[in-house]
């Protein structure tokens, strides 16, 4: 059996991702900047129990990744284009990612970043594209959590990160089984730095920059029949 590539660079079934990247050549830079700004967000501590600025920066970064996964699985479930075991996985994984988002938002309180707008370029609407993207996103998050471990100062936050990290790894294993791919290769997972993770997401165009968001509200005169 030919082993499929399971990384975000390999996901571009109909050229949609590439087209999007070409159409908005500055998007990656813009999104990289936007996400970096989100990830580096460090507001002053407002309460004694609030996370230290450095830990809050990690939490904000983690929440951004959880937003991405939450949106991906939730969209897949709502569109109803997936069937059988794959649809079941989308449903269950979506529930888990939504729980993660809720927990991070509760911990960050008012300093939690707003949910971005996403464009998954049809990968939630096709079974194979969904599975490849899902594995890539889970792997990305596993590497991202591992990459932050040495930056976290609070033992309680480190504990939370480790707790979630292993859940994401099991997600990746489950999705690989659905692709009929061996869930584990090698003996070591490499941690991924924040810049690498943000760059990968931005390059795929999954996060819609505010300047690209559709304009649906306008101060303009109606041209309706009345």
């Amino acid at each position: 059996m030919t082993r499929p590539r399971l990384d975000l660079a390999a996901i571009d079934r109909d050229g949609a991702v590439r087209e999007a990247a070409d159409a908005t050549s500055t998007r990656a830079a813009l999104l990289g900047g936007a996400l970096a700004a989100i990830g580096a967000l460090a507001l002053p501590s407002v309460a004694a129990a609030a996370p230290a600025p450095r830990d809050r920066s990690v939490l904000t970064y983690a929440l951004s990744l959880e937003y991405l996964q939450d949106a991906f699985y939730t969209e897949a479930e709502r569109l109803g284009a997936l069937q059988g075991k794959v649809a079941d996985a989308a449903r269950v994984l979506g529930q888990t990612e939504r729980a993660h988002v809720k927990a991070f938002r509760a911990l960050l309180g008012s300093s939690a970043p707003a949910r971005p707008r996403f464009d998954f370029h049809g990968t939630t609407e096709d079974e194979l594209a969904f599975l490849h993207t899902a594995v890539a996103l889970e792997d990305l998050c596993v590497g991202a959590y591992a990459g932050q471990a040495t930056r976290i100062r609070s033992p309680e936050i480190l504990q939370a990160a480790v707790d979630i990290h292993s859940v994401e790894a099991r997600h990746a294993a489950w999705l690989r089984r659905l692709l009929d791919v061996r869930p584990t290769e090698g003996s070591l997972d490499e941690p991924r730095g924040r810049r690498s993770v943000i760059g990968t997401i931005a390059a795929r165009g999954f996060v819609v920059d505010a300047s690209d968001a559709p304009t649906t509200h306008r101060r303009a005169s109606p041209l309706f029949t009345g």
């Binding site: 969209e75 449903r91 998954f120 609407e125 609070s154 504990q159 819609v208 306008r218 041209l223």
Partner: protein, 303 residues
């Protein structure tokens, strides 16, 4: 093994022996107790020997495999003074299902690049789909299905804002932007002259409406909300106006092609009634409530 070697782990039995006591001098019960103690002592010694061997074997294995810290053979086999894991900073709730299943969900996507809508994927042309509505907002299409063609290209089945009403067609999925889903649905009853907004199975608003008069009938069918307009001069549209994908079949010469809107009014006394040029008119208080409750992309069924 001597008693000194096993020293502190058990009570020395010598002190329990009668002074100068020969075995023959003890009563049978005492001899039996002594034999039992001896058996217990033997078992304890055997257990200690096994544990010690296990510790030595583990330590040797750790050193050979390059473990960072070889285990000392003199260390307790099981340490109980290691601190437990810290509590998690996150209170992660139990996973919960979405409140609204896919059956109650509609989806829309913005047009990202001009494209041709086709009867079937790669089939005959129906119309060209542009980037903007007549009011200058982003052109949206309701996505009602999808299909992958023989070349592996994903197509979206969409509802179009063209005449005849209820026209659907296929566009390349890559021509559309990100999907947004909505859980609301607006039903307009032309006979009862009411508008009812549902969210899933729940009714969240019902209000009287004005609809098209004779010769300017409000079209029937399935449509969707395309935009929301505010801050305009004409008081005839009230404070808020929603543009829909519905078009008048009677007033095709109307500016911009005769699109049907849902809006307020400066003549609330005419509602409910057959008073409009095809649009759905609501009292201003009702259109303001609707504006708070109805997101863009909401399906509209008129019948």
């Amino acid at each position: 093994m001597s008693e000194r070697a096993s020293g502190p782990l058990w009570k020395p039995v010598a002190s329990a022996a009668p002074p100068g006591g020969a075995r023959s001098e003890l009563p049978p019960e005492a001899r039996a107790r002594r034999r039992a103690r001896a058996r217990r002592r033997g078992l304890v010694l055997l257990l200690i020997a096994v544990v010690a061997l296990a510790v030595v074997a583990t330590a040797s294995s750790a050193v050979v495999s390059g473990a960072a810290e070889p285990v000392s053979v003199s260390a307790p086999a099981l340490r109980t003074d290691v601190p437990g894991a810290p509590g998690s900073a996150l209170a992660v709730p139990s996973p919960r299902a979405m409140p609204t299943p896919a059956a109650h969900t509609a989806a829309w996507a913005p047009v990202r690049r001009p494209t041709v809508a086709r009867r079937v994927p790669r089939g005959h042309r129906v119309t060209r789909v542009g980037l903007r509505t007549p009011e200058g907002t982003t052109n949206l299409l309701e996505v009602i299905g999808r299909r992958t063609d023989a070349q592996g290209r994903l197509w979206a089945h969409v509802r179009l804002a063209v005449l005849p009403n209820d026209t659907t067609a296929w566009v390349p999925r890559s021509a559309l932007g990100g999907i947004t889903t909505v859980r609301t649905h607006l039903y307009v009853d032309l006979d009862a002259r009411t508008a009812t907004l549902m969210r899933g199975d729940e009714m969240v608003l019902r209000a009287p409406v004005g609809v098209g008069r004779s010769g300017a009938a409000t079209p029937t069918g399935r449509f969707y909300v395309r935009n929301r307009l505010t801050t305009y001069r004409s008081k005839a549209y009230g404070p808020v106006a929603f543009g829909t994908s519905a078009r008048s079949a009677d007033l095709t010469e109307w500016p911009a092609g005769g699109y049907i809107g849902i809006h307020g009014t400066d003549q609330p006394e005419l509602i409910p009634g057959r008073v409009s040029h095809g649009c759905i008119r609501m009292r201003n208080a009702d259109i303001r409530r609707l504006a708070r409750l109805m997101p863009i992309g909401t399906p509209v069924t008129i019948g």
